[in-house]
Symmetry: C4
């Protein structure tokens, strides 16, 4: 039993991440009416806010999954508190297709600032949930593997502290310029995708030799 202790939590979470990512495509609609003299190419091009929102949300959920994957290389045990803080995190992930559809529809129209607040607000909440999940697992090392890398886990704790701040910044930018805040979120996703050399080094060595 020991070796797969958190296996089912991870498999369930993987399922939720994978489905949320895949459902995003349902928001990209086939243009039905091309209007007078319009071409399909032009109708598709006019949907650029949908593609930008899709790409930002996809990249963000992917980063979240990578981070979730990383956390669980250190976590070896589960208890009820872990299951529920993980469930709260997944609630945020499950919701993502809704604000994505919202911002895709309202970008460039009245109400776009409200849409951006909902969109960026969702990511702020998820960033806080990641902190809660990690604290639940790592405080006094209670659910970490016995041989966990103290340096690596401290690195995670420190970098996670800043996560919500970045999304709060995106939220603030969204109050002024919605498109800029979407692009910023996309850049943030790429930033989190490029961990510091140290973290990368640790991850690389955590492999079958």
């Amino acid at each position: 039993m020991a070796a797969e202790e958190t296996g089912r939590v991870e498999a369930f979470s993987d399922g939720v991440f994978a489905i949320a990512m895949t459902l995003l495509v349902l928001d990209i609609k086939v243009p039905h009416e091309l209007g007078g003299g319009g071409t399909l190419a032009r109708a598709l091009a006019a949907q650029w806010p949908t593609y930008l929102a899709f790409l930002t949300s996809y990249a963000t959920i992917l980063i979240m999954w990578v981070n979730h994957h990383r956390l669980f290389t250190h976590i070896a045990r589960w208890d009820d508190r872990l299951l529920f803080s993980n469930g709260a995190l997944l609630l945020g992930v499950v919701l993502v297709p809704f604000p994505t559809a919202l911002i895709a529809e309202y970008l460039g129209h009245a109400g776009q600032t409200t849409a951006a607040m909902v969109y960026n607000g969702t990511f702020i909440v998820i960033a806080f949930c990641f902190n809660i999940l990690w604290k639940t697992a790592s405080r006094e090392g209670r659910l970490l593997r016995v041989d966990h890398d103290v340096e690596a886990t401290r690195h995670i704790t420190e970098s996670y502290r800043f996560g919500p701040l970045f999304y709060i910044a995106a939220f603030a930018v969204g109050l002024v310029n919605v498109t800029a805040s979407l692009v910023l979120s996309l850049v943030l996703a790429v930033y989190f995708a490029l961990p510091s050399r140290t973290a990368a080094g640790i991850a690389t060595t955590r492999t079958r030799s």
Copy 2:
């Protein structure tokens, strides 16, 4: 073969739980027409029954998954009866997005009592299915792991006996006040999320030391 005996049943069930939870988001619709002078914020706020129904259903499916997870830490073997009682339980889980959409649309309108009866009735059926699944697995310990914790399994048997009663109570409340019955179901989900100290202690020790 031994170690993963129920692995595929659990993985399949996890998939169904994860998908049902994620499909719930499809019921949260982007408001398309803001009406004269209306704002997006107001249109979103007017959808509160949808959010309440979403949250209640999400929390309830999450609790169900946690309970399913707990049961299968004690179950070590499967036979056809287990597969089919599990399949009946999953039928209930798969259905949840429909009554959720139903109550979200009818809350506050004519027909809301019918919608609440369907909604709460679904959860009563699922609660009974959980009892059947657990009885199928635990009667005379036939499918439990050889070294199962007798105290913990008896605790489950006892607490499950009351599960349907709570949902029957929510059903009764729904005949009088639909919103109150939704809130009650949400509270029930949180209640089931907080197991007694004994159960929590047992769960905690069931981990890799």
Copy 3:
């Protein structure tokens, strides 16, 4: 590598079965207009063809999954032919939500016989695919586990030979009475759910002692 040789094929198939089963619920629509003097209860009751189609398809996919699960307790190896015969089987499974929606909409209206032919035809094709998959795996025992139970595998070969016949019967009935053919398919699902005592006995002993 050995122990999980077919693990990923099974996990992938489980995912497809689980998603196809769960997507069925999207065909159960919330009634939007109750008409003059109509009640929600009456509108819901009028949708009985949808529930019958949902239930039949759910039960049928569940039985297919159980059978898939059973087959793979005997299969230990994969090659390209197995992957593709499995892929052809999953094509049938993935399609099920479409004929289900078709028969739910046309039952009782002009075109219902066509809808029934598509519906039952899909299950005939899937039944043939199961035979092809099993033959691919079992001919001369090429992909079966070395210690496979010869008696049990012969039993599967024999009972699978009759599978398509039952669905051909349902197809024939559907030419005369569509509702009866749906009920027959539901009964067939339950029939396949209740394996002969011998098979049940074998399945039961294939467990961790």
Copy 4:
């Protein structure tokens, strides 16, 4: 930890492949209006572009999954670069239902060439992503299993080099004849499904004896 090092990456990818394949069915719509004197059979027959697009996309995603499965029998370790090149590949897979719906709707109408460019373009991008993923894993054998089959991996490297070329050919054909390019993509899927005898032989021996 060693044995399942890439297990979660594979499970997550399997989930995405399975969901994308299954969501394709949502594009096959039940005909709602049969028109004057029309029959359901004729209405269904008129939807042949939808079935052709569905079949081509299903077969293509299936082949991709089989290839992904094959690659990961050689890959034993993951690092951040692998996670992100895999994530880019999955982005392409997740998108497939959109161009599929696009070509199904526009085949035979104005805009069909644009639709074909988007459809075939998606597969070109995915083919390039497969090359990047494989290079990330195999360059200097950095993430391959220590005992990887040098002959088999070189065979993969060589055959993958040609993948994008075939889809570029389909793209070019699509500029002249959209239906022909769809049929070509379907044929390509079958071609990739039939690996050379050598590869098949290797795959067959990579099994539990």
